[in-house]
Amino acid sequence: MKNEYIPFPSQVREIIRHTDIEYTFRMSFSGSVKPGQFFEVSIPKYGEAPISVSGIGAGTVDLTIRRVGKVTAQIFERYEGSVLPMRGPYGNGFDIENYKGKELVVIAGGTGLSPVKGVVDYFCEHPEEAVSTTLIAGFKSPQDILFRQDFERWESALQVIKTVDSAPEGYRGLTGMVTKYIPDLPIVDVSNTDFITVGPPAMIRFTIMEILKRGVPEQNIWISHERKMCCGLGKCGHCKMNDTYVCLDGPVFNYAESKHLID
């Protein structure tokens, strides 16, 4: 029987630095993987952390890691030319098929952009497959903006609203919470519009309130939940909400089916 707990070694191919504390690690991986899925990435002797897939390339997956805990701090110290043990991918991920032929709006806060980045990339490369694609991305401050090179690419092909909660005087970009931009989104047909929202729990909550105000049906809203996960295998119990295991049944949920989930 396969021992799911044993990680496999994965080569760090490339490092993309976004901010002082947020890097994307391009890791070698050749299995099948979907945006929104996650890997348990470990630094031996320090611990494991669930990291969502922020990009998928030929023989690689991108893992965008924010230095927030003990494990990620170690990864930042020891990345150079090294191998990181990982296991996964786990979880369901986003199904691109759901969004084809739709007006798609992706609303992400901070590193919440990682799990949906694969979806944004797909429609950036195949803009004709959606009626329209809009990205609203919010960051705390201009220094916290992630995926700077990607934004240049996205801005040429999609409608992009890149906003920061607060900025020093003289900042020329947009400011304010992501929710500020929902009421004025140009939507042609609400019943054919899908929203994906990922970010901190409070952001998700307020974003959904605004989306519902636009008359969008609940089943057109998709969210990805971040919870504590020690195993990713439905065993450790930490990610459970109601009868649902985020690691097995999520982390991507349809809002209509998951709105009753309570921590």
Binding site: M1, K2, N3, E4, Y5, I6, P7, P9, S42, P44, K45, Y46, G47, E48, A49, R66, V68, G69, K70, V71, T72, V83, P85, P200, P201, E226, R227, K228, C230, C231, L233, G234, K235, C236, G237, H238, K240, N242, D243, T244, Y245, C247, L248, H260, I262, D263
Partner: protein
């Protein structure tokens, strides 16, 4: 097949079993209770029939025989991982009917919810279960209410009474030990209770609305979050991962999993500072709803087996059975 075996022969039989099985049973640990000059009954390896605590329910369940409190998943040496070998001997685990029903709950999480768990599975395959009878009800158990007061799923039933060991052996693997024991063949039926002092009615109309019930706040405000209810529960299975760096050699370490409690601080903390159930009342609601609602919704049968240990151990006298009965009463 049933047997009556005189004590001396039973001891010889036990000695033979011991050669091929590691035997876990409830044992009295004198003086190891919470308070001075109090005892505790918990599981341990035994080498003699007299070490078994036959009369009283164990304070902690059998589950540590299958799921160690601390379990090493693998050792790290420079760039390599080594999985500790599975113990060679098979296991004989003595338990009561409620706990035998709990095995099905452990199996459900560890073998059926997602991929099979390598470590549980390899130990579970080696485990044989010895049913201990209950000729009278324990104080806080409510097995009759949960329909767990009887079990047929045992490999062996044993009872030590007077100068004889009474056995009902269902397992072909264990049969030869009894055939050799020179006992008298007879019909042996496991002792079981049909009624408890504690009676519980499961609420059957729970829904997500129940999450808002004020009962959680009223009991949660009394809870100190010690986690005893989880640690004694035969059906709680949560764990947390820990990576250890050996102090004397920084290149060597281990990853292990350790029992976790949904009542204890840190259970829902994620890197970056978010925590999803901060209040004790939310944690208590989470536990109780899992035992009597969420698990059943997912797997088709209630998680709780009615052993009553959580009620007996709670230092704040929070009665889980009372909570359930109150929820049921509100439905009528």
């Amino acid at each position: 097949m049933g047997y009556q075996i005189p004590r001396q022969k039973a001891d010889r039989l036990f000695a033979r079993l011991k050669q091929n099985y590691t035997i876990y049973a409830p044992k009295l640990f004198a003086g190891d209770g919470c308070f001075s000059d109090t005892d505790i009954i918990r599981y341990g390896k035994i080498t003699d029939l007299d070490e078994i605590e036959w009369n009283r329910r164990s304070d902690y369940s059998f589950k540590e025989a299958l799921l160690a409190i601390n379990e090493v998943l693998f050792y790290f040496t420079e760039g390599e991982t080594t999985v500790p070998p599975c113990p060679e001997k098979k296991l004989l685990i003595f338990l009561r009917s409620c706990d035998l029903h709990a095995v099905k709950r452990l199996d459900t999480i560890y073998l059926k919810n997602g991929a099979e768990d390598f470590y549980y599975s390899r130990l579970r395959e080696k485990a044989r279960f010895v049913l201990m009878g209950c000729w009278e009800t324990c104080d806080t158990g409510f097995c009759a209410s949960m329909d767990t007061n009887r079990s047929e799923q045992y490999d062996l039933y044993l009872k030590l009474s007077g100068s004889s060991l009474w056995a009902d052996c269902k397992s072909e693997e264990l049969q030869p030990y009894f055939a050799e024991a020179e006992g008298t063949v007879c019909d042996v039926q496991p002792d079981s209770v049909t009624e408890n002092k504690e009676k519980v009615t499961l609420p059957r109309k729970l829904s997500v609305e129940s999450f808002q019930n004020p009962i959680w706040e009223s009991y949660g405000s009394r809870c100190i979050g010690c986690g005893r209810c989880n640690f004694v529960c035969p059906t709680c299975t949560c764990f947390t991962m820990q990576d250890i760096l050996y102090r004397d050699n920084a290149n060597v370490g281990e990853r292990r999993r350790v029992w976790a409690s949904c009542q204890v601080d840190g259970y829902t903390d994620i890197a970056g500072g978010n925590s999803f159930r901060k209040k004790q009342s939310e944690r208590l609601r989470f536990r109780v709803m899992h035992k009597i609602y969420d698990f059943e919704k997912r797997f088709g049968f209630p998680m709780c087996v009615g052993c009553g240990r959580c009620d007996a151990i709670c230092p704040e006298y929070i009665s889980y059975t009372n909570i359930i009965n109150q929820l049921a009463k509100e439905e009528t």
